[in-house]
């Protein structure tokens, strides 16, 4: 029963603090935790990055492999995003195949990267209909202290932004991979911001305590389109609670402002 009582005490405390605009870790409702990004942390990967949001710690790696395109897009490379909630990251994580939470996380990250058209898959084709580059993006959660979606999105993004694509020579039906690299063809950069709803308040970048007692969360990704106009490119509500229409639109407005703030922290040279 304790696991029901502690959250309800915690929830009351979080709601009371929020009345005066404060949070248990000292942040305001719209503050992000300290974000740290390190890139090229794994030399054997074609791209890699670790991201910390406070104590939340995530690593993402990119590997390129030659494979077959999907039949309906014979001239395009493939991107695949997976997430592992490895057991060292939380007492609640168990070994075994990805559960619905890991699958949801990977698909939300994937949607942000895909809908922003970050990766120019048309430039990843080697032999149309036969051989294309597959970009495998693998996310490992290393320490779960809340807001895995934003940390994982940012880690995947930074791993892709700093990844290098092997050069390849096509001779007939053969592809020879050369010992040289080119930058990965990238376009618009998506930034994901998650807010938790607790009571009638919205909390940017929720901590684990806040996630445990939240009604629901909303994740919104923003990217610049071809005209450099900022657009929403992906969205996901998670959790069992409800949102009013006013809360939904307010959350999207806050997320937009926060995404601009997070965008400034990207590795130099990226917008």
């Amino acid at each position: 029963m304790t696991n029901q009582i502690i959250p309800s005490v915690k929830r009351r405390q979080i709601i009371e603090l929020a009345e005066s605009g404060k949070r248990m870790d000292g942040r305001s409702l719209t503050d992000l935790r300290k974000v740290e990004i390190k890139t090229n942390v794994v030399e054997k990967a074609e791209g890699s990055a670790t991201v910390k949001f406070g104590d939340t710690y995530v690593i993402a790696g990119v590997k390129f492999e030659i494979g077959e395109p999907f039949p309906d897009t014979p001239n395009e490379g493939v991107m695949s995003v997976s997430a592992e909630f490895v057991p060292l990251a939380s007492p609640g994580f168990e070994t075994g195949p990805p559960d619905e939470n890991a699958i949801e996380l990977a698909r939300v990250v994937d949607r942000g990267l895909r809908e922003s058209k970050l990766l120019d898959t048309s430039k990843l084709c080697l032999i149309p209909g036969k051989k294309v580059w597959i970009a495998w993006v693998d996310i490992f959660i290393l320490d779960h202290c809340g807001n895995l979606i934003d940390a994982s999105s940012l880690a995947s993004l930074c791993a892709l932004l700093t990844s290098k694509l092997p050069k390849a020579e096509v001779v007939g039906d053969e592809v020879k991979i050369l010992d040289e690299y080119a930058p990965v063809p990238l376009r618009a950069v998506p930034i994901n911001i998650t807010l938790a709803k607790i009571g009638d308040k919205l909390f940017v970048d929720p901590s684990l305590d806040e996630e445990e007692v939240m009604d629901c969360r909303l994740s919104v990704a923003f990217a610049l389109d071809d005209q450099k106009q900022e657009k929403i490119c992906a969205m996901q509500k998670g959790g069992v609670g409800t949102l009013s229409f006013e809360e939904l639109l307010r959350a999207v407005e806050i997320a937009k402002v926060k995404s601009q703030e997070l965008r400034k922290l990207l590795p130099s040279g990226e917008k």
Partner: protein, 241 residues
């Protein structure tokens, strides 16, 4: 992406206006074994939903002392789509099962049935877009048919942007070739959103308009759901007499 999704006279490929739903036909109480069931033909999308419970939780350690557990499974038949789909649950189906559960659970008085489980099974027999929305709206009727106390029905519909226009109730081709897809579910008489997802590029203004259009669509679905409940239980009560 050269195929036109809007005809010259401003209609969609199936002749609908931008803000028009497809024909929707709900049937309630279609299965004998399930505690509650409903079937929908939503344009060419066909979905069957069965509800079991509240029943004893299996495995037992899943039981919660203060509420019932809600489980949902969204599953597509291998023959429901153009190219045969493997019957094993895909990552997409696992994610959709989760969001469908989260869309329905707010409507259920879970605290009335401690230590039990309610299972919601949605089988997509034919998919032509908006299957999660149709599954949610139909599941709400199956839950009602099972006699499970609810705060409200849950009604759901998707809005897409195709060729620059926002259109209501997205069919498959509009989802595949359109610029955005946004499923939304709500408890209509509570005016609360229980599911929102979006992909594709939209400005904040376009998003706000999409949400408005989805809300209008949900209210229309809600009317059809109530009509289905009304006619089903009216017939049922006559039979009993």
């Amino acid at each position: 992406m050269d195929k036109k999704l809007i005809t010259e006279d401003g209609r969609r490929l199936d002749g609908r206006r931008f803000d028009e739903l497809r024909p929707i036909k709900f049937q309630i109480g279609v299965l004998k074994n399930a505690d509650g069931s409903a079937y929908v033909e939503w344009g060419r999308t066909k979905i069957l939903v069965g509800v079991f419970g509240p029943r004893e939780s299996h495995p037992k350690h899943l039981a919660m002392p203060d509420r019932c557990l809600i489980r949902a499974r969204y599953h597509m038949a291998p023959f429901s789509v153009e190219e045969r789909k493997s019957p094993a649950p895909s990552r997409r189906e696992i994610e959709l099962s989760k969001v469908i559960r989260e869309a329905l659970e707010p409507a259920i008085f879970v605290e009335l049935f401690p230590r039990t489980t309610i299972d919601i099974f949605a089988e997509v027999l034919q998919a032509d877009g908006s299957t999660r929305c149709a599954a949610i709206s139909t599941a709400a009727l199956a839950l009602a048919d099972a006699g499970i106390p609810m705060r409200d029905l849950v009604s759901s519909v998707a809005v897409a942007k195709v060729d620059g226009n926002l259109v209501l109730d997205v069919m498959d081709i509009e989802d595949k070739l359109g610029d955005s897809d946004m499923p939304l579910a709500m408890m209509p008489s509570k005016n609360l959103i229980t599911l929102i997802q979006m992909d594709g590029l939209l400005t904040n203004e376009e998003f706000a308009k999409s949400v408005e259009l989805a809300k209008k669509g949900c209210m229309e679905v809600y009317a059809k759901q109530k009509e289905a409940l009304d006619s089903h239980f009216r017939i049922a009560s006559k039979e009993e007499v």
